[in-house]
Symmetry: C2
């Protein structure tokens, strides 16, 4: 039996990944920092403060997971880019892999980010060839963590992959982020201005990101691996699609912003290792995903 410990299982990606794990034959233990359990998911909740090394060692000794999926991090919208809490999460993640290796764990997947790449280098970004040069504290911490993990797991014989997340959307995303903020404004009859409408981003539905992590975990793929669609969409095109679904195109204004180092013209993944080495393929067409999401927001606001 594959025994999986997952962190961040109640987060945006995490709560979507659980459904993809059972069919792959995992017994799933989900770290929570509250005592309330996910009810009917077949997942065993495990109360543990990941900042507490003693608690982590205790959980590892008790569960002895063969697999580890580490999605937890500080992700407060906007604040996460520069928060000092990135430092504590780097330390907690290092402690987690050490503790996992100590009880004989064999396979781990950690969440990385497209913000590790040098955004001034040409996009699309390839896991093996594109340079890393993170410009934010969040990106630097993830990138530094990855370097230590590679050296450490290589030495102790843990197989590890590092899933680089790009942009995503779906039900339950923080309402201030781009896609939900456009939808909510339009549903509330408010005008929407998309300033950088010419910028191109690699956007993937959260359920496909989640299945990507599940497939990555179940594979033997190692090292940095883009968990992304592999194609870009102009933000203006994306916004027009949403406005057309809502039926309020007249509320939408598209601007053009100069690219900046923090907001470059294109952030797109090179279609790479994940599709080549696993059965993974995105299943949600953007139009369908957006239509479903607009419905979801309509129901939320009732």
């Amino acid at each position: 039996m594959k025994r999986l410990l997952i962190t961040g299982g109640s987060g945006f990606i995490g709560r979507n990944v659980l459904a993809h794990l059972k069919p792959l034959g995992y017994e799933v233990f989900c770290v929570t920092n509250v005592s309330s359990a996910p009810s009917d998911t077949g997942v065993t909740p495990v109360a543990c403060d990941l900042m507490d090394a003693v608690q982590v060692d205790d959980v590892m000794q008790r569960i002895r997971p063969t697999h580890l999926l580490h999605l937890a991090w500080y992700t407060a919208h906007g604040a996460f880019w520069t928060s000092e809490r990135n430092l504590a999460w780097t330390g907690a993640s290092l402690n987690l892999i050490r503790s996992f290796a100590t009880v004989g764990g064999t396979r781990a997947v950690f969440a990385g980010t497209c913000a590790e790449y040098d955004w001034s280098a040409p996009s699309p970004f390839n896991e093996c060839l594109s340079p890393t040069k993170p410009a934010t504290l969040y990106g630097v911490c993830k990138n530094s963590l990855r370097q230590v993990l590679e050296a450490y797991t290589n030495r102790v014989g843990v197989s590890i992959a590092w899933g680089r997340v790009f942009f995503l959307y779906g039900p339950g995303e923080h309402q201030d982020r781009l896609v939900p903020s456009i939808i909510r404004s339009l549903l509330n009859d408010k005008p929407v201005v998309v300033r950088a409408s010419g910028h191109v981003r690699d956007i993937l539905h959260v359920t496909d990101v989640a299945s990507g992590f599940a497939q990555l975990l179940d594979s033997g793929v190692t090292g940095p691996t883009n968990v992304a669609f592999g194609q870009g969409i102009e933000l203006g095109t994306l916004a027009r699609e949403i406005a057309s679904i809502v039926g309020r195109e007249e509320l939408l204004t598209l601007g053009l912003a100069e690219p900046t180092p923090e907001n470059p013209a294109s952030i797109v993944a090179k279609d790479g290792k994940l599709r080549e080495a696993t059965p993974w393929n995105p299943t949600v067409r953007t139009r369908d995903g957006l239509a479903e999401l607009v419905d979801w927001h309509r129901h939320q606001s009732r």
Copy 2:
């Protein structure tokens, strides 16, 4: 008044650095994990487990240091290159700088290592130009820590320098390391074989390393800074010097070893920022330092 918190103050470099700090006008608080105090050094001992974030925050709140000199790390001879304890020290060091910044600290110096450099690149190694590509877990952890520190301190306005230590010698060094092991063998009438006698290393007396850290702390120099002599010596030449001082040249055999990635032909610092930007200069001539050290070992073995 400059209030300095120092970690690793009882280590090989640390206990030598204390004497250089008082003349520079520092009130010195020295973190120890035991309750025994350094006696007549004018240093205030502070009991604190650096692995415990609550204790660290408590000490920072109590002392409110303006300056931080972080020398503590796991340094057990041989084992430190690959030990998993490098991970915990990375996390503890991240916590330390966060806690220091939180109480308004303004100037920090952390100990780095020549093992951050790409040892397959041409030596001497320049702080600004030479590539980093650490081959060991110790080097990777230090290098990753440095990257996070740069991003974090830049954001919170702490001035930080990163002192890269090369090779050192002096009284109190672990007896299994190269210089003391040669001295002790010769003093005990045992033959000595120096296998890689053609390899060139940058070796500096510990008191000069210590004064380098003190001057670096007291300067405005930022970023990676070699704390090294800036000239190499062949290990064979070094061993012959020792044998000549002891008067037992006949016990010495010099071999020639092929350079390897872990043991390259030359590891030498480019004479750089430290001498240019501070009053620092090494004061101990190698012959004198070795003669004094041989005397020290003679007294130790009585």
